[in-house]
Symmetry: C2
Subunit: 258 residues, 2 copies
């Protein structure tokens, strides 16, 4: 499935994530949004606010994926170094973007605050970048080639992603179907492997859960062909009954149980 997939990588930038001060919530959001668009999130890297780390991640990932997204590090303070690092990754001059400057001028005039030198950092992009609109707090993100530079604040990141989403070209949308059963993973594993072999284009995942002290397993069938998923789901239900379990669908395991 992944050989022909349209893929994306995400770079989460910020010391606060890696120190544990701030819990990232952007990975889960982007994972779901990209999946819905038929784009497979193939890899995530979380790096510190360090130029070398950002440049290395950007250059490695933009060469291997259709799309790259970054979150974080585009504010007005000294630790916001993402934009300049992306400019260096592309070997582009880091300049004031005239449209970004106008947006900030309008915003700070309207709100009666000062567009000082620090805030003007947010008007800088790699030369020739395309702006990404920010309806929440105005200071824009930007795109250079396949790299989309978004804010780290979740509400702002989401608004920016929504303005980018229509420009992304996904592949076939991946559908999924989940079946839960009160059997241990080890009880279903062998038969599941056989099923996976008969349906090589599907991705069959198995995730344990505990309910009222009983071991259970959620089986996830993912693929682009709904008929095939339905056929595999039927076979799977038969298998689970043969193993003495009662297939439940839709299941409701706690979301934090991997």
């Amino acid at each position: 499935m992944s050989d022909t997939a349209v893929t994306a990588a995400l770079i989460v930038i910020g010391n606060e994530i890696l120190s544990g001060r701030t819990k990232d919530v952007n990975v889960a959001y982007l994972a779901r949004q990209l999946t819905a668009l038929g784009i497979q999130l193939a890899e995530v890297r979380m790096v510190r606010d360090e130029e070398g780390a950002i440049i290395a991640a950007v250059n490695t990932l933009r060469a291997s994926h259709n799309y790259v997204f970054t979150t974080g590090g585009i504010g007005p303070t000294h630790d916001d170094i993402t934009s300049e690092a992306v400019a260096r990754a592309f070997n582009l001059p880091y300049r004031i973007h005239p449209e970004a400057k106008r947006i900030l001028e309008d915003f700070y005039r309207d709100t009666g605050r000062e567009l000082n030198e620090a805030r003007m950092r947010m008007a800088h992009t790699p030369e020739g970048a395309t702006l990404i609109q920010n309806p929440v707090s105005r200071a824009p993100g930007f795109r250079v080639e396949n790299v989309h530079v978004l804010a780290g604040i979740p509400a702002v990141m989401r608004a920016m992603f929504e303005s980018v989403a229509p420009t992304l070209k996904g592949g076939r949308t991946v559908k999924s179907r989940e079946i839960a059963v009160l059997l241990g993973e080890g009880d279903v594993a062998a038969r599941l492997e056989g099923l996976q072999e008969r349906y090589p284009t599907l991705e069959i995942g198995s995730y344990p859960f505990v309910r009222d002290g009983n071991f259970g397993t959620t089986l996830v069938l993912r693929g682009t062909d709904e008929d095939e998923i339905a056929r595999a789901a039927d076979e799977l239900s038969t298998i689970l009954r043969e193993l003495g379990g009662e297939p439940e669908t839709p299941p409701a395991p706690p979301a934090h149980i991997a």
Copy 2:
């Protein structure tokens, strides 16, 4: 600060994380635990259940960090390929570990369930691996050199990490102090940069928040020398008052605001 730091990297393994089905909660936990031990979590990679991706991440990161942790992919089903991939990364045979086998035999005998071939997958490790105890569900993790292979289920991962923690040697513990102020990031940025220049061994972070419709900023001072942090915090409080703000400590911005 990071030049002499003891560093770690984390590899989160699992399609379910990257598809958005499952929200990772292990990064935040390990980030906090490692920080408390004086170990800097320098990088996180989230990869799919694909051998090549796992091997590449393991080999890149174990060469550049004191410690590597992996989470996920060590269960009994066909998509649990982490242990074998780690064996390949180290060019080690992938074999039954006698002690792991005994642990599983005892567990399944006690619980009256079958130790079948699928469950025996969980007794396999790279040859010579040191087991990591799992008091929750018994099937152990393991360590090869500086790479620690942990479960993905949060409760199990935490129990495994707790049994590993006493073996980890951290550097000087990083302390932090937070000060919040109802000023925009752009209002404090210039003076903050000056402060950072006067305290080059501290890491000074700036994170915006919104409270009752007002823009605010949380400033975080991090470093290993508490006296230095205290001096910088005093200077920062003076700066914030000069800018017309009232420093608040401890602040309470919502945790999800980066």
